[in-house]
């Protein structure tokens, strides 16, 4: 990993069209500004991690035929369909 030291107001260029600015530093928090073309996706890392782990949770669970039918019973007071 390339490591560089920057001060607030300074930036780093990545390729020809991505620029990452250090805007402010306050204790353990760093405020970062990013200039990038629309085709470059910028995402908080933890958000992707959360979606990955939520997907794994989803695959780890299943519902039997009868259980699912029961969930869909129209006479249940809290039926999915009633929404």
């Amino acid at each position: 990993m390339l490591v560089v030291t920057r001060r607030p107001g300074e930036s780093v260029l990545i390729g020809g069209d991505v620029e990452v600015f250090v805007l402010a530093v306050d204790g353990a928090q760093v405020r970062v500004g990013i200039n990038a073309p629309r085709a470059v996706r910028v995402l908080r890392r933890e958000l992707l991690t959360q979606v990955e782990s939520e997907n794994r949770r989803a695959v780890g669970t299943s519902l039997g035929r009868d259980d699912l039918s029961r969930l869909l019973q129209p006479d249940r007071s809290r039926s999915v369909r009633a929404t």
């Binding site: 989803a58 519902l63 809290r78 009633a82």
Partner: protein, 153 residues
Amino acid sequence: MELQTTRFGHIEILDVSEESVLEFPHGLPGFESHKSFALLEELKYLPFRWLQSLVDPTVVFLVIDPRSILGQYEIHVDDLDVECLELLDGEDPGALCIVVMPEDPRSATINLKAPITINQSRRRAKQVILTSERYPLRYPLFQPDQTQHPAAN
């Protein structure tokens, strides 16, 4: 074509049409190597459907059309998504959200934060992550009070 699925917790062999297959060019987060899924549906289980990986019978997602829960659900797709889904100008993708079903189905949640967007006509799909704070990762499938949908406000 023949397909193996574990959608109900045990192996089952289904005969599905090629048209039910959706291509995920990037896979799904955490499942990047799974690029093709069959969308399984049975009338009696609607609005639930399943996305079954073609390469692994144990990789199956229970999914639901978020609009059947919220009535209204807005997705913003960016240029990258439009390109990946091969959407035409002004064309809106369909959406399905992944259900997480814990042991007690009453506490099931749906992932409104990262819907699976679908271009039906091109049969292409992508799970996108919405940047808006409006929709949570775990939205309760069953509301204590059916008249209130906080995420829809």
